[in-house]
Assembly symmetry: C2
Homo-oligomer: 263 residues x 2
């Protein structure tokens, strides 16, 4: 590949969980957010909340952005023109989450270009609720993901990804036989083990239901980590339905008919 | 702002709907997809489908990418380690859509860096179904968005965005009074009208229910366009629930208990 600073920056990017004390300037914050804002959109269904309480942010990052799905603003705009929202809550959520995540990834890349690092914080239903209360988010605003940003105090390598032939398919989604799956797993596990990722993080997901531990940091790789997370956690859909209702995006049958009354 | 090619590229970016005949090389395609793949992720819950049937793609683009939520691959990986998916379908969909959209936005930026342009195609429930059938996507793969890519044969200006003080909020989500809303609307409407956006596209959303047309291309701006779309369209949540079920992500009460049987 010819020299391409933009693609190289994306290929080099990794999550940063240690930050030094340098505080980003107002201009740097504006640059990051404006780059986010210019991402393509369905209806600008996004707002960004900022916290600068360094002692209280994850990883003590100087900046914590919360990227939100925002239908509240759109509805305020529509009301000025005599329109009220007809689109259903699930569709709003689907398109709003798209808008928000495009913004978020531009912010990641803008931060990199300013020599900063970043790390996404995934949102559990409980964390969503706390965030709504903390920022006093109105109904129809849903905090989708958080992003810590600051100047890095660590320099880990970029993390492995599946082989591209396990990710990009032309014309027809192929039969993924055991061999292809095992090969992709090996790339991921060998890669994470070579970086000593979980030992450095000192973290293995605990086994539930009396399952016996047979792994240590010499054998615990990415695929075992994924299996334990997704094979043990997040089983309760009602929690997620409830937090969507809490944010004014009810989609469960009992409640969604009230979608217009909740605002 | 000091010269920053990455942020400048994001600020300059606009959707391209006319492409010339130059065909991107295999290397260029790989560069775009690899940049997408390196986006941060929850669990690499994404696959990308590619079409190169230029006569049959939207805007006759040389490349059409379909960025999919993919839980099928993760489940294949988990099965090799003796795990089965416990996470509920709504949560999988929530995190999968995040992974997919981060990938998508990196692909947008990578294409820009290679002097190409791109345009997102939003997915209606019907388009999702057709796409699933067309690419023979297995259950647990959900086509989230499509992206046309190619070398541009037009050079429109970047499109307006809300004022940043209508987008970025610190510590507390503010009361948005009429004045703030009207000011943000003016920025958007004046901006789109100055670019003659809808006249050039020759498109106004039709009014339903015997509403009388009072706009023309001198007055029809972005906020009226948004009001008509979101105030008239996408009302039927069942269509979306059904297509999620069709893709193996049932979340409606009647069907979601069968989530594990559908694979």
């Amino acid at each position: 590949m010819a020299e391409n600073k933009i693609i190289e920056s994306m290929l080099r990017r990794k999550s940063i969980r240690k930050y030094n004390d340098r505080i980003p300037t107002e201009q740097e914050i504006t640059d990051i957010v404006r780059a986010g804002q210019q991402a393509p959109f369905a209806a600008q269904l996004c707002s960004v909340m900022l916290s600068r309480k360094q002692g209280h942010t994850p990883f003590k990052a100087p900046l914590l952005f919360t990227i939100c799905i925002d239908a509240y603003k759109l509805e305020a705009v529509m009301a000025q023109r005599g329109w009220s929202m007809k689109a259903n809550n699930l569709f709003m959520f689907f398109f709003g989450l798209q808008d928000a995540m495009l913004v978020a990834e531009n912010m990641v890349n803008a931060a990199e270009s300013l020599d900063m690092g970043s790390c996404f914080i995934g949102m559990s239903p409980n964390r969503i609720k706390v965030t709504v209360d903390n920022y006093k988010l109105p109904k129809r605003v849903f905090p989708a993901v958080q992003l810590t940003v600051g100047f890095p105090d660590e320099n880990p390598p970029p993390r492995p990804r599946y082989p591209i032939d396990f990710f990009l398919f032309e014309d027809t989604y192929p039969e993924l036989n055991d061999e292809a799956v095992v090969q992709a797993m090996k790339v991921m596990d060998d890669g994470y083990l070579a970086q000593d990722y979980y030992r450095r993080a000192n973290f293995m997901v605990k086994l539930e239901d009396d399952r016996k531990e047979t792994f240590d940091f010499d054998s615990y790789g990415w695929t075992e980590h994924m299996g334990r997370k997704w094979g043990q956690w997040f089983s309760d859909m009602d929690e997620m339905l409830e937090v969507m209702r809490y944010c004014g995006f009810a989609i469960d049958e009992k409640n969604r008919s009230g979608q217009q009354d909740e605002k």
